[in-house]
């Protein structure tokens, strides 16, 4: 589960959209090195944007995989757009909303938005933390076995591992996989 960058799927509308969340925790190893203290600066723990992209890729990837009962090997082929206006810090929660724009036998394109819940800036006794839209990530996925070069891959679906199965099960999402 060390390479799961979402904690729970909140909503899955088959072939349409998926919403997932990720809590950013100080216990995560990568935050210790990103960024480590220097002679002139204290430690600055931030979730790297590359991992935010991975979180969106996992969210959108599950949505695309679910559309065909996880029979296809769905791989991230291209990051068409990635914008992030704020760095997620420990204590924040990220919400990924991925939407399928196009879906064909070759692959799919998705658009996604990222909302940040930061308790230090948006929490009050009267209202829960409010979401702030901090970015957009659009992705292209390919169905690996339908690649144009005709390359053959192992039959087993090595993309959707047990980790994905566990996320779906603990999120209460029923699936054939």
């Amino acid at each position: 589960m060390r390479w799961m960058w979402i904690d729970r799927v909140l909503e899955l509308v088959p072939k349409e959209r998926l919403v997932a969340i990720k809590h950013v925790s100080m216990a995560e190893d990568h935050l210790h090195d990103h960024f480590a203290a220097t002679d002139v600066r204290d430690q600055l723990p931030l979730m790297p944007m590359s991992l935010v992209v991975e979180g969106m890729a996992q969210s959108a990837g599950i949505l695309v995989g679910h559309a065909n009962d996880f029979k296809e090997k769905v791989v991230l082929a291209k990051v068409a757009k990635a914008q992030l206006r704020k760095d997620p810090t420990p204590g924040c929660t990220l919400r990924y909303t991925a939407t399928i724009d196009r879906f064909t036998e070759n692959g799919a394109s998705t658009s996604g938005v990222i909302d940040l819940f930061d308790p230090t800036t948006s929490y009050s006794d009267d209202a829960p933390a409010q979401a702030e839209r901090i970015g957009e990530i659009d992705l292209i996925f390919s169905h690996l076995d339908r690649n144009s070069a005709g390359t053959q891959y192992p039959k087993e679906n090595f993309v959707f591992s047990d980790s994905f199965r566990t996320i779906l099960r603990t999120s209460g999402i029923e699936s054939a996989f």
């Binding site: 082929a77 291209k78 068409a80 724009d101 196009r102 064909t104 036998e105 070759n106 692959g107 394109s109 292209i140 390919s142 339908r146 690649n147 144009s148 070069a149 005709g150």
Partner: protein, 128 residues
């Protein structure tokens, strides 16, 4: 939709999909050579064409797949007569003159130009 309007829409799609400048997009520019497109970009471009023009594109319709790996179509580094015939039949949007003059396999990608893309969209829109 006029041919110029089609070209403008295609230019916007290519600028977005391939991160190229619009002045690089000339009718004779090749997608895979001049504009640096990779196979996955073709999938991206296909999605964007479908979205912008509202037609469906079947697998291999825009650019026939697997030609260069098929011994029936390529022998000793040259596209065979059967290969050229297949490309003409399945790709009426391509200008085959260069490839027919020199059927080297590395010239196959050169028929996939911006102009071929415009022809393709024009033909699809006319057929709709």
């Amino acid at each position: 939709m006029t041919r110029d309007e089609i070209l403008n829409t295609i230019s916007e799609i290519l600028v977005d999909a391939l991160a190229v400048d619009d002045d690089e997009i000339t009718p004779s520019a090749t997608l895979i050579g001049d504009l640096g497109a990779e196979s996955i970009d073709i999938l991206d471009i296909t999605f964007k064409l479908e979205q912008e023009f509202g037609f469906k594109i079947a697998q291999g319709e825009l650019f026939p797949e697997g030609i260069t790996q098929d011994p029936e179509y390529v022998q000793d580094g040259l596209v065979t007569a059967k290969g050229l015939e297949m490309l003409k039949e399945r790709g009426p949007h391509f200008d085959m003159a260069t490839l027919e003059a020199d059927p080297s396999v590395e010239n196959v990608r050169k028929i996939f130009t911006v102009e071929a893309l415009v022809n393709f969209c024009e033909q699809k829109l006319q057929a709709a």
